[in-house]
Symmetry: C2
Subunit: 375 residues, 2 copies
């Protein structure tokens, strides 16, 4: 019994050339406790960028290969090469999460054969994925495979934000780049949980999307009165914790400054070291790869840090994560429903037009990879 299929790989050469292409992978019978999944759906998540393209310069992208075996090539700037030196020469699988049907199982996992399962196990941009049965979540009959394929990264990130908020004693949130697929999910989750949420977008049409799904507070950073309006919204909601996937630029400092202004002591007294009310902002992505520029005009009770789902999961522990996962499944058709705008095959991922659109991270666009589909 063997299973042979295509798998997407990303490879960096010692000269800084990054190549993304397809290889053929063959699996024998799975070992004890393992299963082989025929992957039928795997979303292209922004987080997949870290492995797919790393710090490569997108402008250098060229396409080659055949229709069945296309290849994309780009260059990693010399200054960035040290940050990926440990993966030079390694053919890396990609794809954080996905779902499909179990086609084979080792000892102890036989009950899963024929069942549809989802997993956040990495390397899901592949036709056959072998992994430990305990990493699989069995999908209820009511949950379509494509929906189940996206039940981890975005939903757990959204719940991770809310849990982090509660853990740190906050009761409201600010979210930047709020019109993303994840941002829309956060709007729905905060509405469901009664959590005041201040949404920051960059364009009027993004504001319209969020208003359309019930968002109450949407601030457009392209407007001249943005800082003033943000200050009002932060004061109204009491939000002193923000999540920001942009990273680069001055927005993080603007958010903290708005929080500081809203935290001034109500008795009108001058606090010469600024407010003592804790203010925090987490950067959880890198949409803007430029430097984060903080004008320190928000006292000393502030904090900016990185936030990563996998670090949160390690802190939260298995039991708490199981509870969050159960909530995701129970609201998979409402709060945590992902909508895909396009489905592509593995080979189509490497179509420059498709790949470029994915890299552009356009608002509302979300691509689903269907590895079992023909070229």
């Amino acid at each position: 019994m063997t299973f042979e299929g295509l798998e997407l790989r990303s490879h960096i050469g010692a000269d800084g050339t990054l190549r993304i292409g397809l290889v053929t992978v063959r699996h024998g019978a799975p070992g004890p406790g393992d299963v082989i999944i025929r992957v039928e759906a795997a979303p292209l998540n922004p987080t997949d960028h870290y492995l797919l393209t790393g710090p490569a310069d997108q402008a250098t992208m060229t396409a080659s290969g055949t229709r069945e075996r296309p290849e994309l090539t780009m260059t990693i700037p010399a200054a960035a090469l040290p940050f990926v030196s440990r993966r030079v020469g390694i053919s890396m699988p990609v794809g954080a999460e996905g779902a499909g049907t179990v086609v084979a199982a080792g000892a102890g996992a036989e009950a899963l054969v024929g069942r549809r399962v989802a997993a956040m196990a990495g390397g899901m941009f592949t036709q056959y994925r072998q992994l430990a049965a305990r990493r699989c979540v069995v999908l209820p009959d009511s949950v379509p495979t494509a929906r189940g394929a996206a039940m981890f990264v975005n939903p757990l990130t959204v719940l991770g934000f809310i849990e982090t908020m509660r853990d740190e004693g906050h009761s409201a949130l600010v979210h930047a780049a709020a019109a993303s697929n994840l941002g829309q999910m956060l709007v729905k989750a905060c509405l469901a949980d009664g959590i005041p949420l201040v949404n920051i977008v960059r364009r009027p049409e993004q504001a319209a999307i969020l208003h359309g799904i019930g968002a109450k507070l949407v601030m457009d950073s392209s407007r001249p009165d943005f800082e003033h309006e943000l200050g009002r919204a932060v004061a109204e909601t009491g939000a002193r914790l923000a999540f920001d996937p942009i990273g680069g630029g001055r927005l993080a400092g603007q958010i903290l400054a708005a929080m500081e202004t809203a935290s001034a002591s109500p008795d009108g007294a001058y606090e010469h070291y600024g407010s003592a009310v804790p203010k925090g902002l987490y950067i959880y992505g890198g949409l803007d790869r430029g430097p984060t520029i903080l004008e320190l005009r928000f006292g000393f009770a502030w904090r900016v840090g990185g936030w990563l789902l996998f670090h949160f999961m390690a802190r939260a522990g298995a039991e708490r994560m199981a509870g969050l996962q159960a909530r995701v499944l129970s609201e998979i058709d409402t709060t945590f429903a992902s909508r895909f705008t396009r489905t592509v095959s593995l080979a189509q991922v490497l179509d420059p037009e498709v790949f470029g659109a994915f890299q552009a991270k356009s608002t509302g666009e979300k691509y689903l990879v269907s590895p079992s589909a023909d070229v």
Copy 2:
């Protein structure tokens, strides 16, 4: 019974003009639980800047007034005026800490009359300071008044760094601008406690000062191999927490990047989201008022925040602070000895030459104000 004396005040007018001058203050008999201290020594600490000059443009400084009642005037840039709007029109006392002799006491505090005491109560650049007796620390006979006057801000900040380090599970420190009076104290405290300390300075002569008091690891950021050497020192000590009084510029990011490099998994595996080892940096001052510029090249397990002694004290609570204060007194002639390079009267503080030298925050310079001294 009245006590009349001079007091230094800082005042901002609605037009953005900041004036620093002397006023006459008169105290009647102290109320129950209060004492009046004849202030004999009060250090000029960098933290006093926040009230003394706020965000004023030092280049606009002009001197006026008489020898007995000098006055300094400077301008606050229009963009910065909103941050101090709440103190406009208020004559603010200055001077975080000081020491002197109790000359009068209200009911219940009589035992303090004639005793030498120190206090971190603000408004200590004055000839007579009235405050609650419970805020006074009685100085042992062996402790000179000038030494006692500086027993709070720098020593408690140094111990606050060490306590914060322990609270957050770290066992070594990085300190920037390490040749300051506070930095030298931190070197001695870390030597006493066996804590590995990586010192960062900007000039060879500062490195020499630190080596002279026993510092083992001193990195000069003006050297071309600085980042490499810093990386080595961070790896050697395991330091993943830094304190930085500079704030502006790129140093904070360089320190975090060095920590990230030193945190790479020892098995050589590539971690595509960076290391999961927590890395932190606290900004506790603003020597460089320019923006903090972070190049995000240190994964997601990082945190930059503000650190303020008064916030630490509030978190630590009275009992723990009393323990730290007791340690300071027991090591006031060794670890926590402040050395003053010049003693000035209240009027002399406003001598442009003296004031300018203080503002320049030159390494190793520390001024003591002797409010009881003649002009």
